[in-house]
Amino acid sequence: MAGWTGTAGGAVMARDLLVAARRRSDVLTTFFFFVIVVSLFPLGVGPEPDTLREIAPGVVWVAALLASMLSLARMFGGDHADGALEQLVLAPQPLTLLVLSKIVAHWLTTGLPLVIVAPLLGLQFDLPGEALRTLVLTLLLGTPALSLIGAVGAALTLGVRGGGALTSLLVLPLYVPVLVFGAGAVTASAGGMETGGHFSLLIAMSLATLVFAPWAVAVALKISLE
């Protein structure tokens, strides 16, 4: 039984990854949005290396929040439009598991690219090596939480008027703790301070959202399909 549900979750994930691979522009748009937003800040703030080093953690993290938020509409939107979502809800496998597979696929296509490109952007901001490593690690641990929390907002606003702007209003306040600890760890690391506490709390948050978010998303999806 466990093996069967695992297969179903895997199938959903493989399908979402295949869809993303066929529509590469969707994935690339989010990715380049992240790169462009981060690159705009030196133009707005000025090229002083000291200032840039100081704002880098916050800028990269806020840009990551915005990028992962922008891609939320894609998570359930297509499936909702073509009716595949109803089949998922009707499937005998637990909806929370299927939802989790979709979220993982979403993270692989939007969160992971951000993590990979982040050190390059950190270099633009003249971040020292230790801080760069912390930046990548915090994004690696924090972006899954962003996808998980964002999925709740995406499911709640499915097929609702003004979807995109509404999702941001719902989701961004909930991103605050992840931002605080993610950017805080990088700042602490750049200042040569201990980052263990930040990491513990970031991991705790990711794990807590991993437990609760799929369940809330499943409830929200059922509500939106009533």
């Binding site: 709740v152 008027r161 605050v176």
Partner: protein, 242 residues
């Protein structure tokens, strides 16, 4: 007494109508007493001068803003779990009052900060989490109004309220931690170590006035909500007939 008797809109509507004048009257009386204490009876603070008097509005508003969110999430959760219409209506009725209280708390806090700290705004933990609470209210209200089907709006906004309620303490502590790490502003929040008892009395009276006002406002709004939702119901037509 069977409390569940009042869990249907039909029986709650007249009950709420009877309660509203009482709460409104006590809000007016308590507010008048509280404001009298605030402006005439309470002495001038030796550190903050007259500016401190704004706390008689600020503290009750800040208190209500957090309490109402929790009460709203409670009713939303009950509505989601037991599928009771009135609970969801109650949650919707509370939200605008909660948002208003949050706004008043932020606004008066800013007015208090200007003469006391010399700045309109600092990124203090309490101010920041109050601001985020305001955003949560806005999200709840906009989600509710974006969905046309009332039953779906009830449930979707209930999920959001519950997610928000879990997050409120997490946000508060993360912002607090963020603030102590940054040490950006050196403004100390510690007020006068001991508050004169007349000030405390004035504040308590104002807190009760705010309670009464919020309950009255929520009840009035829930009555409107009932009228709107049950407009086709037979009991409402009978009520009009009388």
């Amino acid at each position: 007494m069977n409390w569940l008797k009042y869990s249907s809109p039909q029986t709650f509507y007249p009950l709420a109508g009877k309660m509203v004048p009482w709460f409104l009257a006590s809000a007016a009386v308590l507010g008048a007493i509280g404001l009298y204490i605030a402006f005439f009876a309470a002495p001038t603070d030796f550190q903050q001068g007259e500016a401190y008097r704004i706390i008689f509005i600020h503290v009750p508003a800040a208190w209500m803003s957090m309490l109402i969110y929790m009460v709203m999430a409670f009713w939303a959760g009950i509505g989601l779990a037991f599928n009771t219409r009135l609970s969801s209506m109650m949650a919707h009725a509370l939200a605008p009052t909660g948002a208003l209280m949050t706004f008043i708390a932020l606004w008066t806090g800013s007015f208090w900060g200007r003469p006391t700290w010399g700045t309109w705004w600092v990124w203090d933990a309490r101010l920041t989490s109050e601001l985020i609470l305001f955003f949560l209210y806005l999200g709840y209200l906009s989600l509710k109004s974006a969905i046309d089907d009332p039953r779906r709006a009830d449930k979707a906004s209930a999920v959001l309220a519950l997610v928000g309620a879990i997050n409120v303490p997490i946000i508060y502590f993360s912002v607090k931690w963020w603030n102590t790490l940054h040490q950006g502003s050196s403004v100390s929040f510690s007020r006068a170590p001991s508050m004169a008892s007349i000030m405390l009395a004035g504040m308590l009276v104002m807190v009760f006035a705010f309670w009464a006002y919020c309950i009255a406002a929520a009840l009035m709004r829930v009555r409107c909500e009932i009228l709107e939702r049950e407009r086709g119901a037979a009991w409402l037509r009978n009520l009009e007939g009388n």
